[in-house]
């Protein structure tokens, strides 16, 4: 035992000193940090200002579109406020009763895509400023100031020299737009569209707050919009014959610019329908009420406890987090068994093995290696988990909701204990195979050609990694779970989906049994193979060693 410990100690110390180990150790936290931080940076700082021009010759929709965009913006403000409140208000006032007493705005809890009422109430009651005033006494000490989300779309005036906007001396940008829309009533939209093209293509820039930015979109509404409205029924012109009523120009439809188009389209068509209702004799108040009528929808998960069935971000993370762990498991097992292989080959190729075997028995040597490298692996995954917790806790309080939710998932689920268990068992199983392989090969090159086969077999869990969470208790998942070399990965993958107990226990028993079997076999092969030189033995010969 003492010698096993000595061998293990050397394996641990020497492998933990290698550059590869430290790179592996540090890469993970860096990747996690970037994964959480980059989206935050992108939305906060790097996201470009999407500037657009709006020319409404009819003069009927300009205000509507602007107010629709404002509403969309206010909704995001409201959402941000809700998160801010959830995070920074002292725990004691979070309950519904306390909120009523405090006169906290109800709309904080009630907004959703269809509840226009809550949003209007919010805007009419003074928006963020008012809510913040009410929240102030209940904020935790040291809570950060609320930062309003940036507007996604900024309206800019027509560039100087286009569409009759010759007056550059004024300098008051937005007023020019208004004049362009109302006074210069004989603008030709076709000409305007042509003139705007260089700006939309990014060849020319417009100015926003003194910065030159690309013009991301142009919305052109013709004077005769009324004639171009398509109405169902006889005698009405088809859309094709009239051509489009409103032109939305943008070089990147796929990107965030699409949101602008959707907002504008919804605002314009909503207004057109509203007028249509009025024209057909409906009461304006009724229309308003109808518009604000909706049935709330919620996604529920039958597996969660009563009263908490709501599907939220946490649930999605819980579904997908196991895949992340499968990947980590794979990387950890793969890199650690590579270390094992490298070590055996080093000792074998320069015959250190003989000196070792004059001091320790092959059994002690093998166990020492097994444990030493296992310790390296455990150090690696422990460091990963600690850094994961560290980064998540650090980021959870601030801007990233994902971090907080993920942290909650990790704390409440059995992912971490399962990860450690499956790492150990998976490592031992693969280590057994690698030890057998390493002991019969003389050079790394020789070993690598065989290693290729093992790697290929090991690839399967990576390929099924993203499929299994979509059908965690399906045939493929269950089948793979019962193949011992895939058990650690597949069961890890299914961990969040509450697999049947028979799968959980049965595969574990099978895995332990096959690990013991493989290690026993590896012991036999190792003892003979380790002193062999020359050609690697045939499988038949190795089987004879195992039997003998």
């Amino acid at each position: 035992m003492k010698y096993t410990a000595l061998v293990a100690r050397r394996e641990y110390v020497e492998n933990a000193r290698t550059k590869g180990f430290w790179i592996g150790l540090l890469t993970f936290p860096i990747v996690i940090f970037l994964m959480i931080q980059v989206p935050v940076w992108l939305t906060e700082k790097v996201a470009p200002i999407r500037a657009f021009v709006l020319v409404d010759e009819s003069g009927r929709f300009e205000k509507l579109i602007e107010s629709a965009l404002e509403k969309a913006h206010q909704q995001r403000v409201l959402e941000a406020l809700r998160e801010y409140a959830a995070r920074n208000v002292t725990r004691s006032v979070r309950s519904a009763g306390a909120k009523r007493e405090l006169n906290l705005p109800a709309e904080l809890d009630e907004i959703n895509e269809q509840n226009a009422q809550a949003l209007e109430t919010f805007i009419n009651h003074g928006g963020a400023e008012n809510v913040l005033k009410q929240l102030k006494p209940w904020l935790k000490p040291g809570a950060p100031a609320f930062s309003e989300p940036r507007r996604r779309f900024v309206r800019v005036p027509l560039p100087v020299g286009i569409g009759g906007n010759e007056d550059a001396s004024d300098g008051k940008g937005l007023s020019l737009v208004a004049s362009a829309a109302t006074s210069s009533s004989n603008l030709d939209l076709a000409v305007l569209g042509r003139e705007l093209k260089p700006y939309l293509r990014g060849q020319k820039k417009v100015e926003v707050d003194g910065r030159a930015v690309e013009l991301s979109a142009a919305i052109l509404i013709p004077r005769d919009i009324e004639q171009k409205v398509v109405r169902p029924g006889a005698g009405s012109p088809s859309a094709q014959s009239r051509g489009p009523a409103i032109e939305y120009w943008s070089a990147n439809v796929a990107e965030g610019g699409a949101g602008l188009k959707d907002e504008a389209e919804r605002a314009v068509n909503g207004e057109i329908r509203r007028r249509e209702y009025l024209a057909r004799g409906m009461d304006a108040a009724v229309i308003r009420e109808v518009e604000h009528t909706y049935a709330p929808f919620a996604s529920l998960n039958p597996k969660k406890e009563a009263g908490q069935e709501t599907v939220n971000l946490g649930d999605k993370l819980k579904q997908w987090a196991p895949s992340g762990f499968v990947y980590l498991l794979w990387v950890a097992i793969f890199s650690v068994t590579q270390m094992l292989l490298g070590n055996i080959i080093e000792e074998k190729s320069n015959r250190i093995i003989e000196v070792l075997l004059s001091s320790v028995t092959p059994g002690e040597l093998m166990m020492g290696k097994l444990f030493g490298i296992a310790a390296v692996g455990l150090t690696l995954i422990t460091a990963w988990m600690l850094s994961l917790f560290g980064i998540l806790s650090w980021k959870a309080g601030g801007v990233s909701d994902v971090a907080g939710q993920l942290l909650a998932v990790l704390k409440t689920s059995n992912l971490l204990p399962l990860f450690s268990l499956y790492f150990l068992l998976g490592y031992l199983l693969y280590a057994g195979l690698i030890l057998s392989l390493g002991s019969v090969c003389n050079t790394l090159k020789e070993a690598q050609s065989y290693m290729g086969i093992i790697t290929m077999i090991m690839m399967v869990p990576l390929l099924t990694m993203t499929y299994i969470p979509t059908d965690p208790n399906g045939v493929v998942a269950r089948l793979l779970s019962w193949v011992p070399i895939y058990t650690p990965f597949t069961m890890m993958n299914r961990a969040a989906a509450d697999p049947p107990l028979i799968d959980l226990i049965g595969t574990l028993v099978l895995l332990v049994a096959s690990t013991v079997g493989v290690l026993w076999m590896a012991g036999k092969i190792f003892r003979i193979g380790i002193l062999r030189t020359g050609q690697p033995p045939k499988i038949v010969e190795m089987l004879r060693w195992v039997r003998g």
């Binding site: 061998v7 320069n350 015959r351 250190i352 000196v355 075997l357 028995t361």
Partner: protein, 317 residues
């Protein structure tokens, strides 16, 4: 005299190939024994069996009174034939690691490693990784690792191969240092000069069999004594003597220069013959001698004589 090592009828088969054939010998404490033989004679296999790294097919091996060397591994040191060290490990740490595997505490092992490195002039390399060492230095370090725990019995497989003359001398010095403290050394080599200089005893193997076992003077007695004479006269009368086994001219191409028409002859004498009587006989026969040399056979000659043509290849090493 207690035996450090005892082999009895040790045989080893690799498949159908008989690598070691009924080898028996024993080694007393405090001796330096050279283990000689051409390539493939079964030396390394025998040494590995002595260390219980591999098991003999039949026969018994007793090391320090025990049936397995592993039982007394703390008292044995081993330097294998192929030399290698952990490349990335620090020099002192390699020596200390092997010493701890032989039972030294980590503290004692570290102290001992530094002590040895200093004594044999490698102190500057103590904290360097071993792949910074030259081949010769690496081999010395490996030797130090083999003896760091001050073993009673040291087995060295080809300790001199690949070393330059200076380092060979250092290696000899290390071996002598050990025997001066009554340690027992068994080393295999191809280079007879080392064996001749160092050994009390030699065991010679060829084709798996032990073909000689004894002291160096005993070995030299195996082949006839020789006398080399140089003369321009006819040496026919010498041929007739009963104590002269053979007379043959020394190969001219071999560098023996003839002066004033004189030829060199080598005479092989019977085992107990006296060279002085040959000299006297030459005077009596009026054979005028330019030179008369009586020389002992070298161990190499003994080796060639015993092993035969196979030794040629070994002799060049």
């Amino acid at each position: 005299m207690n035996a450090m090592l005892e082999l009895q009828n040790v045989t080893k088969y690799y498949g159908a190939f008989k690598a070691v054939d009924e080898v028996s010998f024993s080694l007393a404490a405090g001796t330096i024994c050279g283990f000689l033989g051409p390539n493939g004679a079964g030396k390394t296999t025998t040494l590995r069996m002595i260390l219980d790294i591999i098991k003999p097919t039949s026969g018994t091996i007793t090391v320090l009174g025990r049936p397995s060397a592993l039982e007394v591994r703390h008292r044995i040191g081993y330097l294998p034939e192929e030399k290698g060290l952990y490349k990335k490990m620090k020099t002192w740490s390699v020596i200390a690691y092997f010493a701890t595997l032989k039972g030294l505490s980590r503290k004692a092992a570290k102290q001992r490693a530094y002590e040895l490195l200093e004594r044999y002039g490698l102190k500057d390399f103590a904290i360097k990784p071993t792949d910074a060492l030259s081949k010769g230095m690496g081999q010395k370090v490996q030797m130090l690792a083999a003896i760091a725990h001050d073993p009673e019995f040291v087995i060295l497989d080809e300790p001199f191969s690949g070393l330059d003359p200076v380092n060979q001398q250092v290696m000899e010095e290390i071996i002598r240092d050990m025997t001066s403290r009554n340690r027992t050394v068994l080393f295999s080599t191809h280079v007879m000069q080392h064996a001749e200089r160092l050994c009390d005893r030699i065991v010679l193997m060829a084709r798996g069999k032990k073909i000689f076992d004894g002291t160096i003077p005993e070995a030299k007695r195996i082949i006839p004594r020789r006398v080399r004479i140089e003369t321009q006269d006819d040496i026919a009368p010498v041929r007739g003597r009963s104590d002269v086994l053979s007379v043959r001219p020394v190969d001219k191409a071999n560098g023996a220069m003839q002066t004033n028409g004189a030829a060199q002859w080598e005479l092989q004498l019977r085992e107990n013959a006296d060279p002085q009587s040959i000299l006297q006989f030459c005077f009596e026969q009026r054979i005028r001698l330019h030179s008369f040399n009586q020389s002992e056979p070298t161990l190499h000659e003994v080796f060639v004589q015993l092993v035969g043509p196979e030794a040629k290849e070994a002799g060049f090493r």
